[in-house]
């Protein structure tokens, strides 16, 4: 459970129960069988939307192929009923299992792909199945009519029965979505969505979490498909595997709001009746015009509410209101921080001790370019080592090799005597190497605390311990008083500090900071430097890449200068910046000549 999730969850569940009761109550009063059918379809498409949101909304990999799960669910019900005279209740359960299994098979090859490539490959799966089911001769599978036991066969004579089942299905899907969103699971998925690399650098095994999300999402979509088959009573490949089905899943979420459990509900409650009403009212006058009006309506709303209705309305609602700082949480955090101080996690160590990080002969080439060439250095515990060098000197590549983003071609690195070369990114993180990136990745809508929590989860902490670690990290960078604020409201400096806190929340022994001071003003820069010095005073070991030379001179204990992937110079800051070869590398020979005269 995420901190602060409980009251939110309680509020959401109460709202959900109230809405469900209202929906059932209102629909009970409706007698027109057509409106009852509409009232059944709205929750079904909401479930499909929730399923899509659970994967694509949180993980950020857009799926154009959710019809694959939907269709498998629908066919599971139709075929088991025809083959074995099985009740659709079991059929839906089987469908959910089939959907989950399909998710594993689909995830395995496709998770290698990112962005558009993933979206396109997902598009292929339902199209393939469409032809497979056609080939197998299941062009039109109808569910046998059962005149007895309506509850057993899900063939109610009173259409309200379908609404009850549909609402129950939504409640289950909402329950799952809320549990995910408010837990470590959801936060981890959002971390992957923001920056998979950063998430892995925070110790998260992205592949496994994505797979879990897809499996859950596939099972839910399949259950919805299974129930849909009971409504439509005839299953055709085009109806369940068609592109329109996948598009519908995506549209209701984009329209209602991505990344929130309420989005799909809102989208479905508006779009499904809208499309149908247009079809019913306009289609009789000018056939086909309903599609044009529907498209225009979507375009208009997407222009006015580009993030979906939920977020736009919420932002407008909350505008001007400042979230009250949760006193309780701050007090908790203080207590936790106190506990942390009582038992220091990073013992201050004298500079004379054995080196914390040893690097020997590290090399990395991209084709003919030797980005890191036989680099050796060491970092003593409690030291701040500045890595400087002109653009393209190989500084970031060195970091990438050190924390496992890239494999080394040659050489070794040890952290406190443990070899770290050859290990995976998240494993190195768990050994105690924290890292920040050149470009800050934050979750603008999440609170600072949630942003930092991801680092704590990545380090394998859970529950209270994770919250305590996150609060402590925030305190160390001086952001605790802003813990409840959404990250989107932070300044650039705040974001840099937040990212630092995220790295700290994993309680690392060594911090690799990549251009933490980039883009900061003079005073902001001083404030961040102050935080870094304080960290050193607490015993943290830091390796920092930086271009801002004047800041580095004030911060670093020692410099390592890289040029063309090689160590050019190494030593005390003053000595290094006066080194002729360093000046030449930075400013060129002409400048050097001018300096000398």
């Amino acid at each position: 459970m995420r901190p602060g999730a409980l009251p939110r969850l309680r509020r959401d569940i109460l709202l959900l129960i109230a809405l469900a009761a209202l929906y059932l109550g209102v629909s009970r009063m409706v007698e027109n069988s057509y409106y009852l059918l509409m009232l059944t379809l709205v929750p079904i498409w909401a479930v499909v939307g929730l399923s899509w949101n659970l994967f694509s909304g949180y993980v950020g990999l857009i799926s154009f192929g959710h019809a694959v799960f939907f269709g498998l669910g629908a066919y599971s019900v139709a075929l088991t009923m025809n083959w074995w005279d099985l009740t659709p209740w079991l059929g839906i359960a089987i469908g959910a299992v089939v959907g989950a299994a399909a998710a594993v098979f689909i995830g395995m090859p496709t998770f290698r792909l990112r962005g558009h490539y993933f979206a396109l490959s997902m598009l292929a799966f339902p199209l393939v199945l469409l032809y497979v089911f056609q080939y197998l001769g299941y062009q039109e599978v109808s569910l046998p009519m059962k005149r007895e036991d309506p509850l057993l066969w899900l063939q109610f004579t009173d259409p309200w029965g379908y609404i009850v089942v549909a609402v129950a299905l939504v409640a289950i899907a909402m329950g799952i979505s809320m549990a995910v969103e408010n837990s470590r699971f959801g936060l981890t998925l959002m971390a992957i969505r923001q920056n998979e690399l950063a998430a892995e650098a925070s110790g998260i095994d992205a592949w496994r979490w994505k797979m879990r999300a897809l499996v859950l999402s596939g099972a839910i979509a399949a259950a919805a498909g299974g129930f849909y088959a009971c409504i439509l009573l005839v299953v055709t490949p085009e109806a369940v595997f068609g592109v329109l089905t996948s598009a519908q899943a995506l549209t209701v979420v984009l329209f209602g709001g991505v990344g929130t459990v309420w989005g799909p509900l809102i989208g479905s409650a508006i779009l499904i009746p809208l499309a149908e009403t247009l079809h019913a009212e306009l289609g009789n006058i000018i056939p086909g015009i309903q599609g044009v009006v529907y498209g225009l309506a979507i375009i208009l709303i997407m222009l006015l509410a580009p993030e979906g209705i939920f977020w736009t309305v919420r932002d407008r609602w909350l505008r001007g209101q400042v979230a009250p700082a949760p006193a309780l949480r701050a007090a908790d955090a203080d207590a936790d921080a106190g506990a942390a101080r009582a038992e220091p996690l990073v013992p201050p160590a004298p500079h004379t001790a054995a080196p914390l990080l040893e690097v020997e002969g590290l090399s990395k080439s991209f084709g003919g370019l030797r980005a890191v060439d036989d680099v050796s250095f060491h970092v003593a515990p409690g030291e701040i080592l500045g890595i400087i060098g002109p653009n393209g000197a190989g500084k970031t590549t060195l970091f990438n090799v050190l924390n496992g983003v890239l494999p080394a071609d040659a050489g070794h690195a040890w952290l406190a005597g443990e070899p770290i070369t050859g290990r995976k990114l998240h494993a190195i993180c768990r050994l105690g190497v924290g890292r920040t990136f050149q470009v800050v990745r934050s979750f603008p809508r999440l609170s600072l605390l949630d942003n930092v929590l991801i680092g704590a989860y990545g380090a394998g902490l859970t529950g209270e311990a994770a919250t305590a670690a996150a609060a402590e990290a925030l305190e160390r960078v001086g952001l605790l008083h802003q813990a409840a604020q959404p990250a989107g409201q932070l300044t650039n400096k705040g974001l840099r500090l937040m990212e630092l806190a995220r790295a700290l929340a994993g309680r690392p022994r060594l911090l690799l900071l990549d251009e933490t001071l980039a883009g900061l003003g003079h005073e902001e820069c001083d404030e961040v430097l102050e935080v870094l010095r304080r960290l050193r005073a607490e015993g943290m070991t830091i390796v920092i890449i930086e271009h801002t030379m004047h800041a580095m001179l004030r911060l670093a204990d020692r410099f390592v200068v890289l040029d063309h992937g090689k160590v050019l110079a190494e030593g005390a800051p003053r000595a290094v910046v006066e080194d002729r070869s360093v000046i030449e590398a930075y400013l060129g020979k002409k400048w050097l000549a001018r300096c000398s005269t």
Binding site: N32, S33, M38, S142, L232, L233, P287
Partner: protein, 422 residues
């Protein structure tokens, strides 16, 4: 719910209007007051077909056919057994997918409580979904869709006015062979088949492959399946040319594929009847096929289907062309026309606008050479207990001078089949 209450009001308003009209009529006709009070002023029948989306053309043709039937009945005095009640046609759009079709059916059932019966929804998957609704509403439903599954569900209110898919598959080969023998005096021996992978064509080629061909002494020399839409017909037609068959079954399901295939046949010198080529389905007789290719290319092309206006339908065809400006009355308008005629015939026979009684009247129809039976190639009209048309015969047409002509069965043929003797 606001929408609900609005509809309730409109229904009431409409009802009140109806009542008012009825009352006015009753006063005007004075002595017939009692008779009027028992009979509705109008009876509603529905056409539910795709009026928008990719199959809109089929829906439009269905509407044209049904409208003609309704106008003709009304001009001849309405339903006489119901005191001359006028027939009112209501149109519902099945849209572009099965869900839309089902929604439309539900809307129709909910908003037209006094509907007597209807016809549609052209595409068999739509019909399957629609009839799940009409069956529960006990609404008599007639359809030209021919998937076997439509009448395999034990439904009591569905009537299929075409030979089923499997019946068409069984009839296709013997029909063609008989036609060839009549035209040339000898039986063909070598068969080529090109079919797309959708249900209807596969339903035809599968039994042929699995024994029918052997039973009729045929050797299959080409047997090709393609996935529509076709991008290039060259390899398929090349194979046909080199195998030198006596005739070719060309089982595509859409006009774009038809066009590619016939044009390629022409290009290879096999077109215009040189290689007897037989398709299946109403799309082969669509005027737009002649528009996208040209009449010369289509000359001699044959196709089998469930119904087509032939001898004795000249006047019907003329009336249709006059009122619609369509080039001719085809399968997709003829059957809706026939279906509405059958519904009204059942109302006449049952003397009722009660949907259950009308359905019972359809079940007990047994007509020969009279009424709506004249609209079928066998000149007979009787449905079996599953709702399937009995004695259903297929029609074979051939493109002649830019117009499809019936060449088989002989009773309704308007032209002699062109089948080269070589």
């Amino acid at each position: 719910m606001t929408t609900d209450s609005t509809t309730a009001t409109t229904t009431t308003r409409r009802g009140a209007l109806g009542l008012g009209l009825g009352a006015a009529a009753a006063t005007a006709t004075g002595g017939f007051r009692r008779a009027r009070a028992q009979h509705p002023a109008e009876v509603k029948v529905a056409v539910l077909a795709p009026m928008s989306g990719p199959w809109a053309r089929a829906g439009i043709l269905a509407r044209l056919g049904a409208e003609m039937a309704v106008d003709e009945i009304n001009n001849a005095g309405g339903i006489r057994a119901l005191g001359g009640a006028k027939v009112k046609l209501v149109i519902y759009d099945a849209g572009e997918n099965a869900e839309r079709a089902k929604n439309a059916a539900q809307r129709m059932v909910a908003q037209e409580p006094d509907l007597v019966g209807g016809e549609g929804a052209w595409l068999s998957s739509f019909t399957l979904a629609v009839t799940e609704v009409t069956e529960r509403a006990e609404l008599p439903w007639l359809t030209l869709s021919y998937a076997d599954s439509i009448t395999e569900r034990g439904f009591r209110y569905v009537f299929q006015s075409s030979p089923t898919s499997s019946a068409q598959a069984r009839q296709t080969l013997p029909t063609i062979l008989e036609l060839a023998e009549r035209a040339t005096g000898r039986r063909p021996r070598r068969l080529a088949m090109i079919a797309d992978n959708t249900a209807a064509p596969q339903g035809i080629v599968k039994p042929i492959r699995e024994g029918e061909a052997a039973r009729y002494g045929l050797t299959i020399v080409v047997d090709e399946t393609f996935t529509p839409p076709l991008s290039d017909a060259t390899p398929l037609i090349q194979r046909v040319r080199s195998a030198r068959p006596d005739f070719l079954l060309l089982l595509s399901t859409a006009v774009p594929d038809d066009k590619l295939l016939v044009e390629k046949l022409n290009e290879y010198g096999l077109g215009q009847g040189r290689l007897p080529t037989i398709g299946n389905g109403g799309h082969w007789g669509a005027p737009e096929l002649a528009q996208v290719t040209n009449p010369q290319i289509l000359e001699g092309m044959m196709f089998t289907l469930s119904n087509w206006p032939g001898k004795g339908h000249e006047d019907l065809n003329r009336r249709f062309v006059e009122r619609t400006r369509e080039p001719w009355l085809g399968h997709d308008s003829l059957l809706p026309y026939a279906n509405i005629r059958i519904l009204c015939e059942a109302m006449e026979r049952s003397g009722s606008a009660d949907r259950r009684k009308v359905a019972e009247a359809i079940r007990s129809l047994d007509l020969q050479n009279e009424g709506p039976a004249l609209l079928f190639p066998s000149r007979r009209l009787k449905y079996d207990e599953r709702g399937r048309l009995m004695h259903a015969e297929m029609v074979t047409c051939q493109w002649r001078g830019g117009v499809p002509q019936v060449v088989f069965p002989e009773a309704i043929a308007t032209a002699q089949a062109l089948w080269p003797r070589s």
